[in-house]
């Protein structure tokens, strides 16, 4: 018995240090991701990449024989157009659904909706891409007489469906965080549910709802497979909803396999990765600070 006690006494510090190490693992991984992605692209970033051209030129010809050009403006425009359309659809619907689930329905219906949203969030992005490639593609060709259905419209709708669950669940959390005394006070004055929502809850929860929208944006910007399959492969700045585009994420996924390791092209793709990491980092950080701000208040 004594030896067992001694063993436990010896083991405890080891276990606690393991736990501490795992505790900081998330920090290690985030820095690791930045470090390794940056490391692969750093050489070309400092050696030859013209950053002004990189951000302002829409000409992306990484495999041209005579004159290679690395301009990501068209890719950024692709990402922005698809994300913007997705948010135009997902934000009203997502917040509307969050309000309905949080304020207007009974507990049973609420539980059902939450389960369905969880399942909706679980659908893999490659399945969404496949849906865009087949069902949505045919629908858009039929409805708009378009020559091809793999367009901004297609990608936007798919991305909207993908980011709605996150907007709903975070938005609902934000509404739930508003104290019940606010609702009771408003209802005591004779306000209907809609008036309570519109005049009291929305102003009180606006930061949380903003955070929900931001997280939806981050998800839409970072999504890869769905936009790769649903938006067509045209590197150009879109002028209508029925233009094909290509996003930053899709470019990496489509070209990384063909770019020879450590070539300029390969390194530029890693630089795009750093750009994507930075964008989502800033958006997530902002959303997190907003949420923290609410909790501290």
């Amino acid at each position: 018995m004594i030896s067992r006690h001694r063993l436990e006494a010896l083991a405890e510090p080891v276990i606690e240090w393991t736990i501490r190490l795992c505790g900081i693992s998330a920090i290690i991984f985030v820095f690791g991701i930045f470090f390794f992605v940056f490391r692969e692209g750093a050489d070309f970033l400092f050696r030859g990449l013209d950053l002004v051209e990189f951000f302002t030129s829409p000409e992306w010809y990484p495999t041209s024989v005579s004159h290679k050009r690395y301009g990501v403006l068209a890719l950024i425009a692709g990402t922005c157009s698809v994300t913007a359309l997705a948010m135009l659809i997902a934000v009203p619907f997502g917040l509307g659904a969050a309000i309905f689930i949080s304020e207007f329905c009974g507990p049973k219906l609420k539980e059902t909706f939450k389960i369905v949203i969880e399942l909706l969030a679980a659908i893999p992005s490659v399945v969404w891409g496949f849906i865009g490639l087949t069902i949505m593609n045919e629908l858009i060709i039929d409805l708009f007489n378009a020559p091809i259905g793999l367009t901004v419209l297609n990608g936007g709708i798919i991305l909207a469906l993908m980011s709605v669950p996150i907007i709903v669940s975070i938005g609902e959390d934000a509404l739930k965080a508003v104290p019940d005394s606010y609702r009771e006070a408003a209802e005591a004055l004779g306000a209907t549910r809609w008036q309570v929502t519109y005049k009291v809850l929305l102003p009180a929860a606006k930061n949380g709802l903003l955070a929900a929208v931001l997280l939806g944006v981050a998800r839409a910007i970072g999504e890869t497979m769905a936009v790769l399959m649903a938006t067509g492969h045209a590197v150009k700045i879109p002028y209508s909803l029925l233009d094909s585009v290509r996003t930053l994420t899709a470019t990496i996924a489509a070209e990384l396999g063909e770019a020879p390791v450590h070539s300029d092209h390969y390194q530029v793709l890693f630089i795009i990765g750093v750009l994507l990491f930075s964008i989502t980092f800033v958006v997530n950080l902002t959303a997190d600070l907003i949420v923290k701000g609410i909790r501290n208040k």
Binding site: C22, G23, F29, G94, F100, V126, G222, M225
Partner: protein, 312 residues
């Protein structure tokens, strides 16, 4: 006299009627309420309908091909026929190995955050890192896996490299779920245990973990569904378009082999290979979607069951 009192009564009656009939203002209020409520209901329903329609349509299209043979046969004739055995087995390998890595790290990290960490800058920093780790785009995880595991650690494109990439990607899911489960154990349980002289770790092992193990399990199940569906992180770290393995042999892959994966297979046969019969990609999509939804449904049922069983 009589008449007068009668008229007074009548007026009283009329005014009391007015008290309970709706004024235009109240009618407008009710109408707005009704419109708002049905509007929001419509929005919520519009979100749910796609799920049911899409899943239904996929199943309908895949129906002619779905059978046990489809699951147990290798892709054949340049992936234009046959089943999904090799990709299915590859996905199982990737999920299990990534789970073996991320579950211990994730659970221990959550234990640290919930049981050890004080309210200081380090804890805030860790929380921030977890949030950001969850927000990193999947394709950036792929670049990281390629740079760190495939090239730097010299694992080559292998199941191991792909699984490690998936493990890091799904870590936040496990951390979040485990924290929630640990947080649900009442503080008084811990205090009682400390009072009889137990150390921190003894308390965690004998009291906190046994009381939260089922909640932790739901988190781990969610990780499975997330890892099974991911495509981008494994595309450049270990999954390949095609690899022949022997049918029915569950030990067909080695740790340093490349493998096929369901998600990657769906991408390949729907975009890269011309002349695939229509039902084949639908069948693959349904197998993938069915797996993920079943795993999720299992996790949800477990959670609901636990909520009913909870003793405190």
């Amino acid at each position: 006299m009589d008449r007068q009192s009668g008229s007074v009564n009548h007026e009283l009656l009329r005014s009391s009627e007015n008290l309970f009939t709706e004024t235009p203002f109240v009618r407008k209020k009710k109408r707005t309420e009704y419109i708002a409520k049905s509007g929001f209901l419509l929005m919520a329903l519009l979100m749910i309908c796609p799920l049911i329609l899409i899943v239904g349509y996929l199943f309908y299209k895949a129906l002619p091909i779905l059978s046990l043979d489809f699951l147990l046969a290798n892709p054949a004739q340049g992936m234009r026929a046959g089943g999904v055995w090799a990709p299915l087995l590859g996905t199982i390998y990737l999920v299990v190995i990534s789970l073996l890595v991320s579950a211990p790290i994730g659970v221990l990290a959550a234990i640290y955050l919930n049981e050890y960490a004080g309210d200081n800058w380090l804890t805030r920093f860790i929380n921030l890192a977890v949030v950001n780790l969850a927000g990193v785009p999947s394709i950036v995880h792929a670049l990281f896996g390629l740079g760190a595991f495939v090239l730097f650690a010299k694992m080559g494109r292998s199941i191991l490299a792909a699984s490690l990439t998936l493990a890091i990607m799904t870590l936040p899911v496990i951390i979040a779920a485990t924290r929630e489960a640990l947080g649900a154990v009442p503080m008084s349980f811990r205090e009682a245990c400390w009072n009889v002289g137990a150390t921190r770790w003894q308390t965690i092992r004998r009291i906190v973990l046994p009381n939260s193990i089922s909640g932790i399990l739901t988190g781990i199940i969610l990780q499975v569904s997330r890892a099974a569906g991911e495509t981008a992180p494994i595309m450049f770290t270990g999954a390949v378009f095609y690899k022949a393995i022997s049918e029915g042999d569950i030990f067909a892959y080695g740790l340093f082999d490349q493998c096929m994966a369901l998600s990657m297979h769906l991408f390949t046969i729907s975009t890269q290979v011309p002349g695939v019969p229509e039902a084949l990609p639908y069948g693959t999509a349904v197998v993938l979607l069915g797996t993920v939804l079943l795993v999720n449904a299992f996790s949800i049922v477990l959670r609901i069951y636990l909520r009913f069983r909870k003793k405190w």
